[in-house]
Amino acid sequence: MSRFFKMERGDRWYLIVITLFSIIAFMPWTRALDVGGMSLFGWLMALLMVFSPAIALYQLFLRKNQGEDSDA
């Protein structure tokens, strides 16, 4: 028996991808590289801010269309 309560597969993957992206963004080399006047680290943080809500919303709508996660 699992020691954890069950999490939706999509949510699990979302957490894994976001965590990996964050780890890569905080690697030392992203702070040294300069792109268009700003360090790559800054651009990666901005990307994270744009894509994380977009993917989360897409997932929620996808799930709603599939009729999962319904509430009383």
């Binding site: 700003m38 994270l48 744009v50 994380s52 809500p53 989360a56 919303l57």
Partner: protein
Amino acid sequence: MTLERTLVILYLMGCIVIGALASRKVFVSRDEYWVAGRRIGTWVNAMAIMAALASGGSIIGVMGLAYGRGIPYTLSLFAGAVIGFPLASILVAKPLRNFGKFTITDFLAFRYPHPVVRILVPLLIVVSFTVYIVAQMKAAGITAETLLGIPYQQAVTLSAAVFVLYVSIGGMLAITWTDVIQGTLMLVVILGTALAMMAQNGAPTTIIAEATAKAPELGQVANEPLGNYLGLFIIWAAAIPVIPHIVMRVFTAKNSQGARLSLNVAMVVYTIMILAAVMVIVPVGKIAFPNLQDADQIFLEVMNHQFPPLIRGLAVAAVIAAVMSTTDALLLACSSAISHDLLGNYLKKHVTEKVENRINVAVVWVVGGVAMIFAYSPPKLITEFYSAAIGMLSAGLFVPVVAGLWWKGANMVGGIASIVAGVAVYLLVQFSPEFPPLSAILYGLPASAVAMVLFSLLGPPDSKELTLTVERLHR
């Protein structure tokens, strides 16, 4: 000045009227006062969540931080906050909404049923939220001082009196209505300013390239230890799922699907606003005003010198709206920590609901008054100041809440140890001069997690009934 002052006065009066209208409905029951009857729709809740998070820090502070420490440093903080929303949506929104109580303390006291939880958690909330409220009041004070010419202390007193009044009489319903108006105002002013600047100066990439050519430090990773960057990111990522004024908004949603959706929609709106501020307004401001003494003044200087009185008036109203939309939610969460979490059981047994309502109102006034007195001598760089206070909450509450919802092995001993270890290690590191100031969370969170696992293994397991109840929250 007359036009700007008139706009601000109209706005403040509007907030009081909303509070008065809401007061007719909210004193019917505890549900109505604390969570607006749990019938707030998704889009309204999303705007209210965005406004609650987008504080004076998110307008005055975010731009001050970007101006003073560079864009990458600032984005590490706000990317953390944005990541916090999906974490909240995935990890806590559904089970906490299904739990159906009022506060984060309610959940922790249910999950780890020991009297110390009912005392420790609200105390943590009161301390860290008072710091947060002081920072917001500073933002209101310097804005009114710079753009309206009102002395700082008078501006702090006036704004505090208004939001304390409408929160105390209107509860969560007044907060929701005012937050929607305040969120819209903030969005319009920030986006409008950014669009006007882009029309003059080109796309954000062009603006950043031009600004960093003149002031390279704006685009560089500041000379800060990695611990500070990572600390800021993690403080906010871990705070959003457990921070009481956001969690209370989860409880106001009609259902868990609505709670999840509103958190994610709020995140989109918040991202647009922060990126417009940091990647457009700040670089243009840095070119125009390269040597400001107080970095937090950058937005106000831009508005003062580059926009007409009508827009300046709207900008002041927007900053005050940002301050109020967060502070009202913080005040309600703070007063709920005292009158619901700390005194709730006693009050339910010994006084009528009418007297309890009066105590709620009085507590809001006391908390607002204490914060106002502290705000008369404010700290520098408000965003870092309140981030450190919020870090203490993240360190103490994130692990117990998430483990309590997802790990079947979590139990009362582990929960209490986790709260105590997280806060103790956080404070120890925070006040040790040899550690970077915002890195304490990097030690506090792991300490909290280790304590949770170790002490849960040592302590007696939860009853089957409790485990089944938690399991039902996930359905």
